[in-house]
Subunit: 226 residues, 2 copies
DNA sequence: CGCCCGCTTGACACGAATCAAAAAGCGTGG
DNA sequence: CCACGCTTTTTGATTCGTGTCAAGCGGGCG
């Protein structure tokens, strides 16, 4: 039921919750800190555990038989994973950084469920538009804005509207999310840096210096200089 | 509220239902036959009318500011449109052939709603995988199988497993669904024809001659000869 | 310190887009 | 019934954006 696999198949992170009927007030139990690259559940596995991300980042993904991977969503604090996956998970879920999860009771209020479903659907459909019709720079700009919304510090930069956030996904993760290759993502980030729209320090601390212009690029209204 | 536009801006198809409070047992009223290319609702419009497709085909789509269009889903008999679009529609919906709709009451049983949501999510996520990681021939093969599932006649061909269905979307519609161009879709269909996997008669009657092999191509397990 | 892993950058290849034109449908009307 | 004009589809030639392959670079961690 609770099937979590540490990076290389170690012990489950919530061992005490594996016992049957241990779900009393389970929704308020806060789990331990999961290390990066922990499989929360695997594509095709039975059962649909549901969690809320308290802190950190989780990626849900599907994989084709020949290994091509597509990240379906990147999920930050406050959002749910495992909703609507049916009795067999259609996605695997993996932590991208140190992450704290919180089990969520299966019975939610109808309004809450609908809200959560509608949000997931909206995000999925936005990703469809991105993958179907946007160019590589547009995709990367869109991704950065999405991540800023999910992980952006409320404390903003001195510059007008600048936002800083911790970049959980690697270039490879971004590529698998955006339907690109690692190299193309890297090139687009370099171009955005050169254009003065973003800044990346210490490898994973991103600052959007001009979210306005970035939105223009993301929407296809404004080209990005080569 | 009910805002339907005939192909070139004629009278609304459900004129009698436009009156306020006329929604008594509305869920069991079957509307008239809508002609092809009827806008059922527009992206960004207020209100979220919900319908069930009784017969025919509806496409939900989003459009970028510069006109790039992405079809989010093609919807056949039995399925719902308008669910989870919030108070402002995120999609426009348009009929692709003569189509009969049935209004659906806003209050569905929780299980029914969840079921519908889960199906839409699953389809959207499958489209994400298709757009992010599949090649053009794989996309076209996947699309044909999907359409066969939605529109395939229960009466199957004499050949083992062959399925025939009416192809509602044009090449352009398929392109906008699959993140390709009209020409690429046409070329892929030609290659599938030449490979003996499908047959197209009268322009819009498609027969899948070997769904098995087609599935192999759709999943990326088997290449398609040039 | 030095290995290792993730990232960047460059050269080239390839798949799909674009541009262009011919062919095939299809309804209309003679 | 066939000729006509329009739309959609098919096919071809070429271009362009990403993918692929291959080195370097750099920072973190043992």
């Amino acid at each position: 039921m609770l099937q979590m696999l540490a990076p290389h198949g170690a012990t489950p992170p919530f061992p005490n919750l594996s016992a049957p009927l241990a779900e009393v007030r389970i929704s308020q139990v806060t789990g331990p800190l999961l290390p990066p690259r922990t499989m929360v559940f695997r594509e095709g596995s039975a059962g649909t555990p549901q969690y809320r991300v308290v802190d950190g980042c989780v990626a849900t993904a599907q994989t084709l038989s020949d290994g091509r991977r597509q990240i379906i969503d990147l999920i930050g604090p406050g959002r749910l994973i495992g909703l609507g996956f049916g009795d067999r998970n259609r996605c695997s879920a993996e932590t991208l950084g140190f992450t704290r999860l919180e089990a969520v009771s299966e019975t939610m209020a109808q309004g809450e469920r609908d809200q959560a479903f509608a949000e997931m659907l909206a995000r999925s459909q936005a990703l469809v538009m991105l993958l179907g019709r946007k160019t590589a720079p547009e995709r990367v700009a869109s991704a950065l804005l999405d991540l800023a919304g999910q992980f952006g510090r409320p404390a903003r930069d001195k510059r007008r509207g600048a936002i800083t956030f911790h970049l959980y996904p690697t270039r490879g993760d971004l590529a698998d999310w955006l339907g690109l290759t690692l190299e193309t993502v890297s090139r687009c980030l370099s171009r955005l840096k050169k254009a003065g729209l973003i800044d990346i320090r210490q490898g994973d601390l991103v600052t959007l210096l001009d979210p306005q212009k970035l939105s223009g690029i993301a929407a296809g209204d404004r080209p990005l200089s080569p």
